[in-house]
Symmetry: none
Subunit: 737 residues, 2 copies
DNA sequence: GACGCTATTCTAGAACA
DNA sequence: TGTTCTAGAATAGCGTC
């Protein structure tokens, strides 16, 4: 702290607050002239650069460096800021906006006046004292009622009351405001939900379409495969495949689901698969037959990465394909050219092998046979098929085709055919087998299909909950507290995922990701949805509780009951409640009242609602109706309520419970609206109305409500991610509050 | 002013005050990260260097560069500063004292919550009238006391009020609490919605990707088909089927996408189709070639269902390869033994080709050469691969196959190749064509992508409607009452859907499973979304009803005008209704009252009333806290006040007397805390007392309230642009002084 | 042009130490 | 009393009716 300075007399030091002394010193200190100094007239002072001032000066005199605190003190002592003369002037960046403060008793060279500067007193409370202050209308104006510092309140009930009253009033206001805010928010949410719905619908459609497409493709492919198999098989047979047919049952070889399922000649089938599947990945290692198939597949391979989809349309990543293609192409080319064992080109791993082999085996021959032609063909193909791509590889096919044709040796073909013939009927052999990844996939698929049926029938456009879903008996669905976890149907799915995921990695990198990612998303989405569901329920319950709270007044309800917007629900609830209630509440029937209002039957309430053209996007109608139901349901049972609605809501899920509860809920589709109300009501009403002590009751209700709400709020939003973090630890000041 | 950014949806922009929007943008703007940024948790934000911040950032968004003004705004909107952890710590000179502000509804990635942040409203004043009301301490109870506007203070309405029914107070409290809880829930829901949105977005991306993949697959298939067609077509021709090839283009025969797509030689294609597709269904009618093919196909059919995988490499079980490998190995081995060329044993697939080729070219030779071997191979393979299966059927095919093999003459092959070469580029022929399902798909895809962009902009956190969406011209988006219906972007999609939908059933069940599973989830999601929607609607309605209920209270609301968020609306309604108005409205300023509570000013008030320690970490700003305070205050005092308002509210009650009393009370209520009370009183009192028809008025008021609320949401946020631009000549308040 | 709102500025309240 | 955070209050500006 700067030197005491002698500007201020000792006597004054006794009386003058430190702040004023410091201030005076600061302003007088020539060292600070750059930052704080007297005005020319000496009747005010400037702070030239409040930032520097704060940094460089304040700290020397005060315990802080906050300019705002300094200003606060100034204000506290009655200083006022003198606005800039050049107010409008835009002060570029410099903004050296200086601050000019003045006080009637703060003048240069007149430290003796400082004693006249009085710190503004806070409305003391000191109980009575405080009162005094206020009374004096002057000061009181503001302070008066509100006042109350700590001490005061308790003392005089009046104030307390006042506070109460005010508080209560405030409450009402706050309620209104809060409701308004909620409304707005809900409007927003609703809008977003609608968006989501639409988007979701589209997704569904897309998914369905994709399925179909996939299916079609699958069919085509299968046909092709069969065809090929048949063709080559025939060849082989004719030539003398007989041996093969008989020869290779090799049942246990693979866990491949398909093979296993196949009742007939497993071996053949297996091979078929190999031809195709292997061709894709194992390109290199192929049987004669396989190779034949390979050619076309070869092209396919390029796509491979891109086409993982067939089975799992969703997953595969497309990027890799191109690369793969190039690799193979190169590979193929080389071999043909050379022939020798050369795995050469080094390019792709497996492919090379194959070619190299092939080339070795008979490459020469092939080439010799149709060299020119093949090349041409190859070129052509390359052009036509994959125009974009350059045909370095163009020749690839020639040899192959050639080879294929040539290669179609009877024996091999026979084998194939044999196997094919042996094959069992179509009935999803895959499903049964588990070991093979491919097989696994299928099984999973099976499960999935099951899920599908169970959860929601794809019914293409059916967005709403499908009744069908119930069919599959998945009671838990919607309500599942653990969405992902052990949900019935889901399991298979989950299992499925990992499996499918793995294979991809073998091939292209990207491929696998998509699936997983996708699934993850799905999961997330699902979870989110579920959470929301919960929350919504919680909200509903909250509202219900609120309603209940209001419900305190039985008498009114009775009358209002008639209002019942939602008809049945209303009636049930209302009556139930009313019946009991009539007795209890002398006070006022909030409930009934409410109902009226909400129902709109209430002249007042309805009018309002209806009249407002303003109502933004939100549908009052919808809201109102739904609301009515809710409202009417007084349920003290808050807790119970949330669940029920959920059940009902969740189409598939609810089922189990549905049987019982559903009745009511089932009533309508509108899960939310109907269900909740009915279920809730009976019980709730009973409780509320019947309660012996009215007042107590109200309180109780209230508490219960609060608890319920808290519980909900706290628990409901379990989603870690989703839930907005709790309010940050608040400052000390706050904490006590 | 910085870029508008898309964090905040248009809808939100309508409702959210400019300050909040700017704030959100500022905090999100990575360019400002050095000066202002989110906390790690995203639940608060820091201003790292308020001085620099003021200089460098504030000016860009606001008309000023005063940090204090910024803070004032923050406080006005209920933000609170979070004190430094190391409070006592003396922060050397660095003093990088950062400021940390938080608000319950100000979270990273949740711009949609902004609408929940309410600006504290200034206590509207109703001028003089207030006084009267208050005076009547009795009736006023709660309301009366606090109030006070200027004049009133002295009066000690307080006590009288106490009498008010406790129950009602509780009710109010509970309501408040309930609202708070609802609010919290909404927050949660919003968060979850955000999640859903993101997930949905991802799903969309996946869907699009899937389409692309599918398309590619389709291409591949087409190529294959073409290729095969060419190959076999040749055969047929050569063998005598030639007539078929040329003769029967029969393009229209089927709608099968594949065939149609094929650009070239329709005849061949047709045939191919027959071969393939027909095999399944049309088995009976077949050309020679077809027949040949048919056998195998028939077999294949069995597989079909089971092996959809073939195409999808990825999906195809990766494991298979190993098996395949083994098979192959066996195969290969044999050859190696014979041929010199052997690139060795393991080598894999390609080897076969070479062999096959060699064999074909000289099949007989081959067989002759290695007859036994081949068989052995076959056996081996069968064993290793599919040991279990027997090969009963093996011989069936021989003749046919044989024919095929023989048919494969070089010339034909050439033809095929040529035709293939001639074929148009792969570039999704499907797309162009409309008839094909596949084609439809693509277009839809296009749309989808469009949708994607439009609907959810990836902007990760953007929940609200994306501005981008508009780009696609989807004006209706958010509010669409009929999500599915005629939404703009959807149409194409929808069209698409139906087509695709049907096919699934045709094929196998299991195959599609994965997809179905996917759909299931989707479905669930959808359901969830829908449920939410319903619930939300219900909530909305609930809220509406609540509002209405409150609104009923004429006396209280009377002042609603104060509420008048939307100004105009309010005015119209209010005035119109009140008519005489001015009088009527005056009663009591609910709004301000409310604000106080909510704002935390309420807190104070509350505190006054009761010293609730309870108010934990909750934001004062939040209703909740305020409520808590309320709740806790059991005080009999409390009880008294609330009721009255309620009565007034309740229309049916017909509190004739009440009306009057209420009026009084209402007036009195004015927030003790604030001086604001002053304002209110005068008018209100006048009105209330004077008003002839009390009831009527109340109703009216109520409506007004409702309107007001609505209005707020819709219109309130007038400042859209809030341009920083104009520099403001500052006026000086003080200049007069 | 009034009205109602937000924004900005300056001052005051309130809690705490 | 000093410091801090927040609220009040007056005014400026903007936009709608």
């Amino acid at each position: 702290m700067p030197a005491p300075s002698n500007h201020i007399s000792k006597a004054a030091r006794q009386v003058v607050p430190a702040f004023l002394q410091k201030l005076y010193e600061m302003v007088n200190d020539p060292n600070n002239a750059e930052l704080i100094r007297w005005s020319e007239a000496g009747d005010s002072f400037f702070v030239l650069d409040h930032e520097r001032f704060a940094h460089e000066v304040l700290g020397r005199w005060f315990k802080h460096r906050n300019f705002s605190s300094f200003v606060r003190q100034l204000n506290m002592y009655g200083f006022h800021k003198i606005p800039h003369l050049q107010q409008g002037v835009l002060k570029s960046d410099t903004e050296t906006e200086f601050w000019n403060f003045a006080h009637a008793n703060f003048h240069r060279g007149q430290p003796d006046l400082l004693c006249l500067i009085q710190r503004k007193k806070q409305p003391q409370q000191g109980e009575d004292g405080a009162i005094d202050l206020r009374d004096p209308s002057a000061g009181v104006g503001l302070l008066g009622a509100p006042v109350q510092t700590t001490g005061a309140p308790s003392t005089n009930p009046p104030q307390a009351n006042a506070a109460l009253s005010s508080g209560q009033i405030l409450d009402v206001n706050s309620i209104v405001n809060g409701i308004a805010a909620i409304k707005r928010h809900q409007t927003t949410i609703s809008a977003e939900l609608n968006e989501l719905k639409r988007s979701n619908q589209l997704l569904w459609q897309d998914a369905i379409a994709a399925r179909e497409r996939h299916q079609k493709q699958q069919d085509v492919i299968n046909r092709i495969v069969k065809f090929l198999a048949g063709v080559f098989g025939n060849h082989s047979t004719s030539s003398g495949a007989g041996g093969v047919a008989t020869g290779s049952p090799s049942p246990g070889a693979r866990g491949d689901g398909v093979s296993e399922n196949l009742g007939m000649a497993p071996g053949t089938r297996r091979r078929m698969r190999l031809m195709i599947e292997d061709a894709k990945r194992d390109g290199p290692k192929k049987s004669m037959v396989e190779e034949l198939t390979e050619l076309p597949l070869g092209d396919m391979d390029e796509y491979e990465s891109s086409y993982p989809t067939i089975e799992t349309p969703i997953s595969a990543a497309s990027p890799a394909p191109s690369v793969a293609l190039s690799d193979r192409i190169t590979v193929t080319e080389t071999p043909t050219q050379h022939n020798a064992s050369t795995p050469s080109v080094g390019s792709a791993s497996s492919n090379h092998d194959s070619r190299s082999t092939s080339s070795t085996s008979t490459t020469t021959t092939t080439e010799a046979t149709f060299p020119a032609q093949h090349q041409e063909q190859g070129k052509q193909m390359s052009r036509s098929v994959t125009p974009a791509r350059q045909s370095p590889t163009s020749f690839e096919f020639d040899p192959r085709i050639h080879g294929v044709l040539n290669q179609l040796t009877p024996v091999q073909i026979q084998q194939l055919l044999a196997s094919l013939a042996a094959q069992p009927p179509l009935s999803d052999p895959n499903l049964s087998t588990s070991s093979n990844p491919s097989s696994t996939i299928n099984p999973s698929a099976t499960n999935m299909s099951g899920l599908l049926t169970s959860y929601h029938q794809p019914s293409s456009f059916d967005f709403t909950i499908n009744p069908s879903s119930h069919i599959n008996n998945q009671p838990t669905f919607p309500n599942l507290s653990h969405p992902m976890g052990s949900t019935d149907g889901l399991i298979p799915f989950d299992q499925y995922v990992p499996e499918s995921a793995t294979p991809d990695q073998n091939s292209n990198i990207s491929v696998s990701n998509p699936q997983q990612a996708h699934e993850d998303r799905m999961d997330r989405q699902w979870q989110a949805a579920e959470d929301i569901d919960k929350d919504v329920n919680a909200l509903n319950s909250s509202i219900n509780s609120l309603i209940q709270t209001f419900g305190l007044d039985p008498s009114i309800l009775g009358e209002n009951a008639g209002m019942g917007n939602t008809g049945q629900d209303m009636d049930d609830d209302m009556q139930g409640t009313n019946g009991d209630g009539s007795n209890s509440a002398a006070d006022f029937d909030f409930d009934s009242f409410f109902n009226h209002l909400s129902s709109g039957s209430g002249v007042n309430g309805m009018e309002m609602a209806t009249d407002n053209p303003v109502t933004n996007g939100v549908d009052y109608n919808d809201m109102s109706t739904a609301f009515l139901d809710e409202v009417q349901t007084p349920s003290s049972d808050m807790t119970a309520s949330p669940i029920q609605p959920l059940r009902q809501v969740s189409p598939g899920l609810s089922l189990g419970a549905a049987a019982n509860d559903v009745n009511v809920s089932s009533t309508g589709l509108h899960p939310a609206t109907n269900s909740s109300s009915k279920h809730l009501n009976p019980n709730t009403n009973m409780n509320t109305t019947s309660a012996a002590g009215r007042k107590r009751k109200s309180e109780i209700d209230f508490e219960a409500l609060a608890d319920a709400m808290d519980g909900q709020s706290s628990t409901a939003p379990t989603n870690k991610a989703a839930t907005a973090a709790g309010v940050p630890a608040k400052s000390k000041r706050r904490k006590d509050k």
